[in-house]
Symmetry: C2
Subunit: 438 residues, 2 copies
């Protein structure tokens, strides 16, 4: 099966057979397909689409291009959560210890931030000593010990995805539902899961800004998950403002530890609410709880009892991090940072927040990546003081920027201010965190 | 203007602006676009199409990526002919000397054979000593001396085309009219022409097998030529059987010299007819003749007077070839070749000939190229004994294969025989050589 024949078939709108898709992915893995042939086929797939059976075949072929974990020895349900990415999206840090405290094993293979979005691995690395580079054996050992482990993608897991994703990034072929599904689901399936909850974000800080696109993606992800016999559910959630209070790696871990300690404040509430919802869904899919009420009650109880915080502490210790942050989360914060207030130019109500602009501002001062190999400053960040629908007076702070230098502040101040829209009228629009369960 | 933005625009069906197309071609030429980005955009162009202004902008940008000839010092009209390629298509070897004998300068930059089709440069190289690797200055000098010169593509002429074409070949994006137009016309425009006649072939031995596709291509080529102020005309011609008698490099030159000497036979007639038609069209476009009748009369007169043969002799001498072949064309032929007759399995009429199978058979025994860098055996070939519509008796020869070894013969004999269909009924279909003037 030569590359040209497969490319020609998809170019002309044909449906690729599973064995043709396998041949493609094999060609990617063993370098018999040239990069320009991969990108030509991917563009043809982008424009002419893939139907559900092609999408599943691509997911399967990519999954089989690498190692697949098997945790059957653990004698526990295996579950994970995946988010399509957002700004201030830190729920993994709460969900993993909560769900582990409820007796579910969570083999969380996470990513790093890119562009305006953050990544769990970067957040974890703001904990002094925390090691995300585990071997397969270490990963299993940590899960066995404390119920969850968090590591980065290895070269052995879905190697085809890494190459295809890099080419998609360079050739403007990211925003294709079947390609996104295959990329996400092949990596998640490689974790050997029983259940998966997806947090598909939509809004100004999400990759899928339009709700209709995000809904389509959510449905496609769920279909493919279930086709692989993994109980899969998706929540369509709001990303029209940063989630919770903080944006920035150390600050986000700080927020989570505070929540695990039982301390909430107004701006962190959405982080807690979404984490509880997602965790409760995981419990139900794993058969640990039956109704959403009883499931949430169980989640609340492991939070209130401190069991979830203890799980986090055990994990940090198992992954060589400094677990003192569990008692003193302020250890995470760099006290020497400049604090610059972003002030409202007028009185009124917050009617719009461009979350991606806030994410980009933090990336621009080193808190995120513009390119894949950029180094990160985990200390810098942003605190939301006002969120959508809230009343604000002229000159009252919308948020606080934590940065290293005046130059950094000058670079992003105007952008941060422009990210907010204040209207005189109280907005009638409802800002729902959870829009739909799919 | 970054590659992703341009790719995204065409991916989504947008129209690219001339400056965007220039940026792309510049990126190809200066290697700032990666091959996988070029191939992604080309696939998007293939599927979503280019309108006439994009097609012209691409042609112009490609033309401007390299050197453009200027023959204004010659004080003669400058014209060329281009064929989309076929089997036994040798008209360039007749047209160039004919037209030069009529006072028109012909700067013919030709190609090599690939797949089932032949190339003028390979044919010329069957003339002992003939040099197609001229410098720009030598090329001009030869034209000045004898009215025409024939050389290969240089690295300086439309360099972007070479890279894009190789990628199109590897990514199944050849058969796109705007991409074909830009590739052909940018190279022809680089010759600094006043007039161009295109021979667009359709049928079993053509790249565009379907007549409707070939007609579309012809129209698109003519539109773009005229947009560049080059008087352009296209003939839609039949390639449902090899043109003329012979297929194979030395044999084709032999056929042409015989025709220039005034010797025709039944099977060579179509070579002569098409060459006269194309040459006459060039004369008209250049203002050297007014009507097609008077133009053909002029062409006939330079053939009959021997002036065309003399031009060919002068050119061969100027390009270091052995001009004795003009008097003794049999010097071109290798007398030690095996002659194998392809016999008709039954009596009837020739109703179909798969010309591409004949071309492929000759390529397979070394007379053409399967890959771009294959070496060629210019001696081998095929003579058509019967053509479409002719009556044939059982065991009567359909053609003769001239090859080096019995193994070669065994390799292609069945294929050659299968290329012919014989029907008992006399075919009612008319086999027109020239289908339309566009």
């Amino acid at each position: 099966m030569n590359p040209q024949d497969l490319i020609r078939k998809k170019r002309d709108g044909g449906k690729l057979l599973p064995e043709e898709i396998s041949a493609f992915v094999r060609g990617v893995s063993n370098n018999t397909w040239a990069d320009y042939q991969i990108s030509a086929l991917v563009m043809a797939m982008f424009i002419n689409g893939l139907n559900l059976s092609e999408q599943n075949a691509l997911t399967k072929a990519m999954l089989n291009s690498g190692e697949v974990f098997n945790f059957s020895e653990l004698d526990a349900p295996i579950a994970d959560k995946h988010s399509t990415g957002g700004v201030g999206d830190k729920t993994s840090l709460l969900i993993a210890p909560i769900v582990a405290a409820c007796g579910i094993a969570v083999p969380m293979i996470s990513g790093r931030g890119l562009g305006h979005t953050g990544g769990t691995l970067d957040k974890l690395e703001s904990i002094p000593g925390y090691n995300v580079n585990l071997s397969k054996e270490e990963f299993k050992k940590v899960i066995k010990k404390c119920g969850f482990a968090m590591m980065g993608q290895t070269a052995e897991i879905v190697p085809a995805d890494k190459k295809i994703y890099a080419l998609r990034d360079a050739t403007a072929t990211i925003e294709s539902i079947p390609l996104i599904v295959a990329s996400i689901m092949s990596k998640k399936m490689a974790e050997g899961l029983d259940a998966l909850v997806l947090d598909v974000k939509t809004g100004t800080g999400a990759f899928m800004q339009r709700e209709s696109d995000a809904r389509k993606l959510a449905k496609a992800l769920v279909k493919t998950g279930n086709a692989f016999d993994v109980k899969t559910e998706a929540l369509l959630t709001d990303m029209n403002q940063p989630l919770g209070k903080y944006v920035g790696n150390a600050f986000e871990v700080f927020e989570c530890v505070k929540l695990l300690q039982g301390e909430t404040d107004k701006q962190s509430q959405s982080t807690l609410d979404l984490s509880i919802e997602l965790a409760a869904r995981m419990l139900i899919l794993c058969g640990v709880a039956k109704t959403i009420q009883s499931s949430k009650f169980k989640v609340q109880s492991v939070l209130e009892s401190g069991e979830a915080l203890e799980k986090f502490r055990e994990n940090i210790e198992a992954q060589d991090g400094d677990s003192r942050i569990c008692d003193k989360p302020e250890l995470l914060l760099n006290k020497s940072l400049l604090e610059v207030k972003i002030k409202s130019p007028e009185s009124g109500y917050i009617s719009e927040i461009d979350a991606s602009e806030i994410g980009k501002a933090i990336s621009a001062i080193g808190g995120g990546r513009l390119k894949v190999d950029d180094k990160i400053d985990t200390a810098v960040g942003f605190a939301c003081e006002k969120k959508l629908g809230e009343k604000v007076k002229e000159h009252e702070p919308l948020g606080t920027l934590f940065c290293r230098t005046e130059t950094q502040a000058a670079k992003v101040l105007a952008k941060l201010q422009m990210a907010y829209k204040v209207s005189v009228e109280k907005p009638v629009r409802k800002f729902e965190l959870i829009k739909e369960v799919i």
